[in-house]
């Protein structure tokens, strides 16, 4: 057997008050795809930050190609051939592809002015793009590319730095299904070219597909390793959570009549010529599937009144509603848990308490003045009820994990009388444990008679929680599948609009 490219051995890292990593070991062989999985807070990020030179380990050794190395900073990491593709892309939308790939190390022409050698960087970029099978000109401005293409530019940049070990953190979280398939192909091509990959993802399906080995972390320690032929969804989950997870939701047969909340011929700005109609029953969970860009979020935003409704109407219990703003929607008991938690769901600089009460503040006020004691009481109650993990409600939400942040967003809405709740990608970037809790809450809401709409790109999730599944393709509703007919294939067929 060849010797490992990367050997991390006995890595320990403590932060004030927490042991982030305890005796963690990780090996990666040349041309191997190692999936690193674990719940949020399991230590994946810390371990990767050590490889990136952002944190220094307190204990343990790192060998690359057999040589002991110390990684002091990002430059060391780059020199050792380690490249990162982060979940949030690090690109400059205002520059073109070639400029992005060579940013900060532009080759220059000889001569007094030392101008950037455009010919050289464009040619080199074109070669890299070709290697990745991306059909984009090096002169295209990044803002004109899709997220998936921008990600390819990042990979091209990493390759141009002679990266031998590519670390990808949740690379598919903003990609459509076809783009995901394409990315997985690229990752496999890279493996064939001898590049090693550490692949971090919550999407276990992808991991099953491409990983040569799975390393599971739990609570800052190695929880187990699965070889290629041992990788299954259940085994990974069991190692991650340390116990077998029971499936919380058993979707009921749609017995409620789906005419409680009705959307009729709704048209949005993005697909102004396509009208969408559907109904949701009281106590029903309607999954909404489709590729990214299918116009699902736009429909949700129009219902919630934050984007204009160009046509059509919305009825609740047979009564047409006039929704011109989010205030109108909320007045009728309709709320939206937006996909972009950090920018739309929360005020990140604020505390749990201030975020929790933001939508219902007038309920804890007399004559326009806030009753702080009442406000605090409500926030504490909600945090306990939803099991938000934080020292107190005075903790800033920016310090919480994704799952806990999402619980705070939920807390904000559960404080009022809801009739319709729309979730847009409710568990994106949330670890498995918190995911189950969110599913439980969705289940509970439905049981309480709320009409629930869940938009999700995660098929597993859609299948797990929905009573029926509506599928959109480029703004058009291509079908609504009853529970009995829901399966990945049927949904995908509608999502790609092949009919």
């Amino acid at each position: 057997m060849t010797s490992p490219l990367l050997e991390m051995h006995g890595i320990g890292k403590r932060f004030p008050g927490v042991i982030a990593l305890n005796n963690v070991s990780l090996e990666v062989f040349p041309g191997e795809i190692v999936a690193l999985v674990g719940e949020n807070g399991a230590g994946k990020s810390t371990l990767m930050k050590i490889l990136g030179g952002i944190h220094q380990p307190d204990e343990g050794t790192i060998h690359i190609n057999g040589d002991a190395v110390t990684i002091h900073n990002v430059n060391d990491s780059m020199r050792l051939g380690i490249g990162f593709i982060h979940q949030e892309l690090n690109v400059f939308p205002n520059l073109d592809v070639a400029a992005n790939v060579y940013l900060g190390r532009e080759p220059v022409n000889a001569g007094f002015l030392r101008l950037i050698d455009r010919t050289k960087i464009e040619a080199a970029t074109a070669t890299l793009l070709k290697r990745l099978g991306v059909d984009v000109s090096p002169r295209t401005q990044l803002s004109e590319l899709s997220i998936a293409q921008q990600q390819m530019v990042e990979i091209a940049k990493a390759l141009s730095l002679n990266t031998r070990l590519l670390i990808m953190d949740e690379p598919t979280s903003s990609l459509t299904l076809t783009e995901t398939t394409r990315l997985l192909e690229v990752v496999q091509d890279l493996r064939a070219q001898g590049v090693s990959v550490i692949y971090i993802s919550h999407r276990l399906g992808e991991i099953t597909e491409i990983a040569d080995r799975v390393v599971v972390l739990r609570d800052g320690a190695n929880a187990g390793t699965l070889q290629r032929d041992e990788i299954t969804h259940d085994k990974m989950v069991t190692l991650m959570v340390g116990r077998a997870l029971q499936h919380v939701h058993t979707p009921k047969e749609a017995n409620a009549h789906p005419n409680y909340f009705v959307v009729e011929n709704l048209r949005t700005k993005r697909y102004a010529d396509k009208a969408v109609s559907f109904g949701v029953g009281k106590g029903e969970v309607l999954g909404v599937s489709g590729l990214i860009g299918a116009g699902r979020s736009e429909v949700a935003q129009a219902i919630f009144g934050v984007e204009p409704m160009l046509g059509g109407r919305v009825l609740l219990d047979g009564n047409p509603l006039l929704i011109k703003s989010s205030q109108d929607a909320i007045k009728h008991g309709i709320c939206l848990i937006p996909e972009d938690r950090r920018h739309l769901g929360l005020v990140m600089d604020w505390t749990i308490q201030d975020n929790t009460t933001l939508a219902t503040l007038t309920d804890y006020a007399k004559a326009g003045l806030i009753d702080f004691a009442a406000e605090n009481k409500v926030a504490v109650e909600m945090s306990q009820k939803l099991r938000v993990k934080a020292p107190s409600v005075a903790t800033k939400v920016s310090q919480l994990s994704g799952g806990n942040q999402q619980k705070v967003v939920l807390a904000k809405w559960l404080l009022q009388k809801l009739k319709v709740i729309i979730f847009d990608e409710p568990t994106r970037g949330i670890d498995i444990g918190a995911k189950s809790e969110i599913y439980e809450l969705i289940n509970q809401l439905a049981a309480d008679g709320v009409a629930v709409i869940v938009i999700s790109s995660d098929l597993e999730e859609i299948l797990r929680i929905s009573d029926r599944v509506a599928v959109l393709h480029e703004g058009k509703l291509t079908g609504i599948l009853p529970r009995a007919e829901c399966n990945e294939e049927a949904i995908m067929r509608l999502a790609v609009g092949s009919e």
């Binding site: 989010s326 909320i330 739309l344 005020v347 600089d349 604020w350 933001l358 003045l369 806030i370 904000k412």
Partner: protein
């Protein structure tokens, strides 16, 4: 609260130094004068602070004061509007201009900097045109003593503008720090989209901030007009918007929005006026006035930055 404490200490130190170097600082006349100016400028700064909390800015304040100032003078001396009604109309005028700014910012979505920069130019021109570029005063008008005492009078030895500032501050403190409206101001300033997604009428909140600012500007315009007793349309109120912004920033408002406090703005205003006073009392050439102010503001912000990064 820490931020306010820092600037409070700075203010005390500055007062102490000035008092030691020139005991005249502590004479009743000087204290009264400084307090009078703090009162007038403080009212202005509070208004700007509200706008800055929503991540906006109002550059037109100085020009608005000139326009409202000449209009006040002309209303009373030329059009013979009863004084008290003239004063109320001027404050309403400030609110009307504020509504216009609010409309342009929140509904038409033009950047506040641009809206109010245009205002700065436009109102200055309008003031000079309306006044035929002549200095306006209250010379021969009678029956104005009560109104003039708003600017130059004292209540139990405390300058009236300072008393007015205290009243305005209490009202604003309750509004900003204790009311639902105040919480919404901070929410909108910090993250307008998240506020909208929480069912807050963000546009209305933003527009209203400019109206509040307009009302306080109107009140300050009345005080300054009576205080100077002569309103030169080309120079009255010059740079006043910058004093206000400086006071708010010194007092802990962030120009990115979502941060700030009434106490901080008051302390910021006081600090700037004491600085002016210090320049006068310590015999520093008055040509250096702005240089001293600029340097102190920069040092204040730098110190804050250093303290932050050490945490």
């Amino acid at each position: 609260m820490k931020k306010e404490l820092g600037i409070f200490i700075l203010l005390v130190v500055l007062c102490a130094i000035t008092a030691i170097l020139n005991p005249r600082f502590l004479t009743p006349v000087n204290l009264q004068n400084t307090a009078r100016l703090i009162g007038a400028f403080g009212i202005l700064s509070l208004g700007l602070g509200v706008v800055i909390i929503t991540s906006g800015i109002d550059l037109s304040v100085g020009s608005v004061m000139a326009l409202l100032g000449v209009l006040l003078s002309m209303a009373i001396t030329q059009w013979h509007v009863p004084g008290i009604i003239a004063v109320l109309l001027i404050i309403l005028g400030g609110m009307a201009l504020g509504s216009l700014h609010g409309f342009l910012v929140s509904k038409v979505r033009i950047q506040p900097f641009i809206v109010t920069l245009c205002g700065l130019l436009f109102y200055r021109g309008a003031a000079r045109f309306v006044a035929s570029d002549e200095t306006k005063g209250f010379g021969s008008a009678t029956g104005l003593e009560h109104l003039q005492s708003l600017a130059i009078g004292n209540i139990f030895g405390i300058p009236t503008p300072f008393v007015l500032l205290l009243i305005a501050s209490i009202v604003m403190w309750v509004l900003i720090h204790r009311s639902v409206y105040g919480r919404y101001l901070f929410a909108v300033g910090n993250n307008e989209d998240a506020a909208r997604y929480s069912g807050i009428n963000a546009r209305w909140i933003i527009a209203s901030a400019y109206v509040v600012c307009g009302a306080l500007t109107g009140l300050a315009a009345v005080i300054f007009a009576f205080y100077t007793n002569s309103v030169s349309p080309s120079s009255h109120g010059n740079f006043f918007e910058l004093y206000g912004i400086a006071a708010a920033v010194l007092g802990g408002c962030s120009l990115r929005g979502g941060e700030g406090s009434v106490i901080g703005i008051l302390l910021g205003t006081a600090l700037l006026q004491v600085l002016q006073n210090l320049v006068n009392l310590l015999g520093i050439p008055s040509s250096l006035n702005f240089a001293v102010m600029g340097a102190v503001i920069l040092m204040g912000v730098l110190a804050d930055q250093l303290l932050k990064s050490r945490k």
